[in-house]
Amino acid sequence: MTSTTPAHRAAERAARQSYGKLIAYLAARTGDVAAAEDGLADAFAAALASWPTRGLPQAPEAWLLAAARRRIIDMARRRRTREAAADRLLLSVEEAATEMHPADVPDWRLRLMFACAHPAIEVAMRGPLILQTVLGLDAAAIAAAFLTAPKAMGQRLVRAKRRIRDTGIPFRLPDRADLPVRLDAVLEAIYAAFGAGWPDPGGIDARRQGLLDEAVWLGHVVVGLLPDEPEGLGLLALMLYAKARRVARRSASGDYVPLSQQDPALWDAAEIDEAERLLQRASSHGRIGRFQLEAAVQSVHTARRSAGRTDWHAILQLYDGLLQLTHSPVVAVNRAVALSKTAGAVTGLAVLDELAQNPRLAAYQPYWAARAELLARLGRRKSADAAYAQAILLEPDTAVRRFLEQRRARFRPNSI
C-alpha cells in the first residue's frame, strides 16, 4: 500500500483482486481459510521465483491456484492424523481441479465475506477478518487501524479462522430469508473497516489512509456481486460521501474544520456525484434501511455545495427514521443536534438530558461536545465548561482536541 506510480498501483490492485478471489475459492472448497492463505502464500513465492525467468503464464490466476492447491494437498497429507478430514479435503480440492476451466476462477469473495461475518463469529472480528482474507492485509496493519496490539490481533485472527473451519461455517450465499440480516453483518463489518480508517484526516498514517480506499473497494465488490441489494448501494454511497470530504476536514495549517464550516469547493465532486447516483439506485428498490438513511443524511449535508445552506428539517426527518430503525444512542445524539437546529437549543438539550441515562454515551465524545455547544449557546457557561472538559478528555485526535479547547476558551466562565 506504499506504492508510488499509478502503474504500480494498478498491478497491486490486480494482485489484490486475484488474492481475494483465490483465497475465497480455495477456502470455499476446503472450509479452511488459514490453509488457503498458507497455500496461496507459497504459490506467490513460487511465482516470484519462476515468472521473472520463465515469463508470465497465460492464465496467472489458474497457475497460482494450481500451485496453491498442490501445497494444500501436501499440507493435508502431512497432517495424516486427521485422516477423514484430510481425505475430505483432498477430494474437494481434486474435484475442484477437474471442474474448473483454466482461466476462469469464479468470484466467490462475497461467500468469503459472508463466512467472515457469520453470526458465529465475534462481531468485533468480522471487519478485521474480511480485511485479512479478502484483501490480504497483515495483522499488524489491521491492528494499527483498529487500535489494538499486533500480537493480540494476530492471535484473534488465527482463532477466528480456526473457528470458521472447526464449526463448519459454510462458504455460500445465505438463503433468501436470511439474506437481509446476513448481508447487514457483512456491510457492518465493511463499515467498521471504513471507520477504522477514518480518524486519520491528515493522511499521516498510510495504513489508515489505505483502509478507507480498501473499504470503499469492498463496497464495490458487494455492489458488483449483489447489484440489487439497496443497503449495499447505500453503504457504498455513505462511504463515498464521507470520503469525498476527507481533505476538507483539516485547514492548511492542520486545524480541525467541522462539517458546517468546510469549504464545499474542497469536496471531491466526482465522488459525491457517484454517491448520489448510487443512493438514487438504492431508493428505486423501495426498501429503506440504515445505510441508505445515513447516506441520505450525508446527501443533504453535501447539498450545501449548491444550495448554500443546510436543510436541517430534512436531516431531522432522516434521523427520526434512523432512530426508529436502529434505536441507537449515537443516532439519538445526532438527532438531538438536528433538533437543536430546527427547534432551538433548549429543545435539543432536553433530549440530550434524557439520553444522559445511557451508560454508553458517558464515554462518547460527540455526546459531550454536542452538550457543551448547546449549553454554551444557552449561556450556561459553567455546565458548558464541564462538558467541554469531558469531550476533550475523550477525544484522541489532537486537532479535534485543539478545536474543542478553543471553543471551551471562548465560552469559559469569567470566574475560572
Partner: protein, 115 residues
C-alpha cells in the same frame, strides 16, 4: 459434518410445568424427532434424567472419588441431545432453532471432533 445439539434448560421450571403443557412439549419433541428422521439427518438422540440422578467421578490426589450430584451447579442443565449429520453450521443452526428446547432454554451446537 456431525453436530451435537445439546439441549439445556431449567430442570426446576420443568418440574413445576402443568401436565397438559408437559404433554404438549413431549409431543413437540416427538414431532421434531420425526422431522429429523424424515430429513435423514438424525444419527442419535436421547433424553437425560435430571441432574438429581447424576453421579460424578473425579480424581482427587490420584484417587478416583465418587461424588453425589452433578459436576457443577448451573442455572440451566443438560437435559438431552441430538446428534445430527448435516452439510454445515447453517444447517445445524436451522435445526437447532426448530428444536422445542430452544423455546424454553438454549441449544448449544457443537461439531463432532473427528478423530
Amino acid at each position: 459434518m456431525q453436530y451435537m445439539l445439546a439441549v439445556y434448560g431449567d430442570e426446576r421450571a420443568a418440574e413445576s410445568t402443568p401436565r397438559e403443557q408437559m404433554t404438549e412439549i413431549v409431543n413437540a419433541y416427538m414431532a421434531y424427532t420425526k422431522a429429523l428422521q424424515d430429513a435423514k439427518v438424525l444419527v442419535a438422540s436421547n433424553r437425560l434424567r435430571p441432574t438429581s440422578a447424576a453421579t460424578t467421578v473425579r480424581t482427587v490426589d490420584g484417587q478416583a472419588k465418587v461424588l453425589d450430584g452433578p459436576f457443577a451447579e448451573t442455572k440451566e442443565q443438560l437435559g438431552g441431545f441430538y446428534l445430527i449429520d448435516v452439510p454445515d453450521l447453517d444447517a445445524a443452526l436451522n435445526w437447532a432453532k426448530r428444536c422445542p428446547g430452544a423455546r424454553y432454554g438454549s441449544i448449544e451446537v457443537r461439531p463432532i471432533w473427528v478423530m
